[in-house]
Symmetry: C2
Subunit: 345 residues, 2 copies
DNA sequence: TGTAATTGCTATATCGATATAGTATTTATT
DNA sequence: AATAAATACTATATCGATATAGCAATTACA
């Protein structure tokens, strides 16, 4: 029950601790320990059930075999999937994950970085929030391996993976325009994030290149803790925008607010209003008639992020070449952008 | 940029490391360090931005100020909420959380316990899965603080918090019976968990005490990775159960399968079939007409679990008295158990 | 045969903290 | 005045590993 230390193994095997350390770390040859002795030591270690104390190893080597993962929030399907896959992939390289969330609080994000670096994590996968630039710069300056996920800072040279936001919205817009919608609104949030800017830009570009006006069609809601306030803003927007035919919600959180609003206004999807949303959600799949969305390939993003990190840690195969990666999203067509349907089913 | 150690502070302040340690650990009085010197040391430490290296502290003291949290899966609203609250509460006591999930794999759960104990976590909050009895017994035998959450092992004496499953189903059953439903089915899963047994028992007890038959009304679906297989089982069950009026789903995961099935069968909620579910879900709130459910008070469960753990760690106020706690769930009435409604809105 | 090189291992400083046992100085006691 | 006790600290072993420098003993070489 009580733990056996390396010293114990050394004593039992009748050798010095250094010898045990060399053997168990695969440096037997390099340190010219005889085969006989090496295998004897391995045997003793196995029989005694020896496992090195990671805390001691960490103190001595400065490496912890732990990666820090900072996401926006644990709740939320997208981040939950990301986390699960990252955990799995990391395990294949012998790394554990310490999972933390900022809950969109800048201060908490900063604290987390500090906490993780104190804990000597070997690398970071971070979903950055505005204001974290400085902290991330410091990590980089400190030579810490960092990968940003889902967003990035245009000014700073840090490896990152994210979905191609511009392309995603372009694709979604192409879809609804092809379906015949013209008065298309766009609901975004006033967080100063590149991905939001990209999405909005794609909306404007598409509308304008189609010769469509965007006047009074864009709502940027104030980011609020309180969901009710968000719903109110969206409801007012839908009510007060004449002849609105379709709405593009820039995030799934906004889409959920939208659903609530539409539900409360007694509007029928898609007859009264069509909708499409960036990012999928359980609800979108199940809520009749199904909400059309742009799907972020969580698995690919997660795996790529880990690969980028492993490359920095010298454990990757460097197969990616690039360190700034944008992944193409998919379009999932469901009922909210179909004029017809509703006949079968 | 490079870290300052306790020794650095000692050197700068012109004292010995021990003195610095005493002062910074609040043992100045006890060790009769003069006020003057103490405040000087504190000043130096602050100016130099000293933060103790948690890894070294952990090695020396055997304490890590980290708690291990093992839940079933990161995805899943209930566990996500639990985790968030636990993280918050733990922070108030100066503890960090290492968050891991078993994904319902026994083997992974066992490995996680081993991993966490190697990492010297100071305590465990575990959502136990069948087969983990032995590992948990060992933790207890090893004097490790443990709290089980959401389930427990009847045979083993370990502090635990969970919702009162029996009461929850009783309450839900009372509700639908009062609404006039009589042919009520029950869908559960063939995992050997106490909470499932309790829920099923409450169903049987209620039905029988009301003089209602339960013949062929219970479906225990095989736990499968593949969602599609689950949906198939539920679909078959609904289709082949004559005159089914209402279904009680024992978990929200089952409820989601049920929704899919009902949707595919083209049934209308609640006209063709009423439903109620144990445990809430985003989808249940948003999916029209809203799914009636038994809500587990996540916040209370999380806080209680942490309190139980803190009591064991000697940091709690022991205000709970009991160490085996069942919390009353709430009934959330929505559209799927209302014959009428659908008029307003 | 004497020196150099190689083999096969060990001694020990170190990572950064904690805590016990000890030491020098001052104050109290008889 | 001599001893005891209290004050205000310090020296150092320790947690459990790693890794550098070193040290016998053997083999190679000239």
């Amino acid at each position: 029950m009580k733990r056996v230390s390396l010293k114990d193994i050394a004593r039992i095997a009748g050798v010095s601790p250094s010898t045990v350390s060399f053997v168990l770390n695969g440096k037997a040859k390099q340190m010219r320990i005889s085969e006989t002795l090496a295998s004897k030591i391995m045997e003793v270690a196995k029989k005694e059930g020896y496992h090195p104390n990671p805390v001691a190893v960490s103190l001595r080597t400065g490496k912890s075999q732990i990666l820090g993962l900072i996401v926006e929030t644990i709740s939320g399907n997208f981040f939950a999937s990301l986390s699960r896959i990252i955990e799995e992939e990391a395990a294949r390289f012998g790394y554990k994950i310490v999972y933390t969330s900022t809950e969109n609080k800048l201060q908490k994000g900063k604290e987390l970085i500090g906490m993780l670096s104190q804990r000597q994590v070997d690398g970071y996968i971070i979903t950055p929030t505005p204001g974290m630039e400085q902290d991330i710069k410091e990590l980089i300056a400190d030579n810490k391996p960092v990968v940003l996920m889902d967003s990035y800072f245009p000014g700073i040279d840090v490896p990152h993976v994210l979905v191609n936001n511009y392309e995603g919205v372009k694709r979604g817009m192409a879809h609804i325009i092809e379906k015949g919608y013209r008065r298309i609104g766009f609901v975004t949030v006033d967080l100063n994030l590149v991905q939001m800017e990209e999405r909005l830009k794609a909306y404007f570009d598409t509308m304008h290149s189609e010769g469509l006006s965007t006047d009074n069609l864009v709502l940027s809601i104030k980011y609020e803790e309180d969901k009710e306030l968000g719903i109110q803003q969206v409801t007012d927007y839908i009510k007060n925008t004449p002849e609105l035919e379709a709405v593009f919600f820039a995030t799934n959180y906004l889409g959920l607010l939208g659903l609530e609003s539409i539900h409360r206004l007694g509007l029928k999807l898609p007859d009264d209003l069509a909708m499409i949303c960036f990012d999928d959600h359980d609800v979108f799949r199940l809520y009749p008639p199904g909400i059309t969305c742009i799907r972020q390939p969580a698995e690919e993003i997660a795996k790529t992020a880990l690969e980028l990190l492993m490359d920095q840690l010298g454990k990757g195969n460097g197969s990616l070449g690039e360190t700034k990666i944008e992944i193409s999203p998919g379009l999932v067509v469901r009922g909210t952008t179909e004029f017809v349907q509703k006949v079968n089913k």
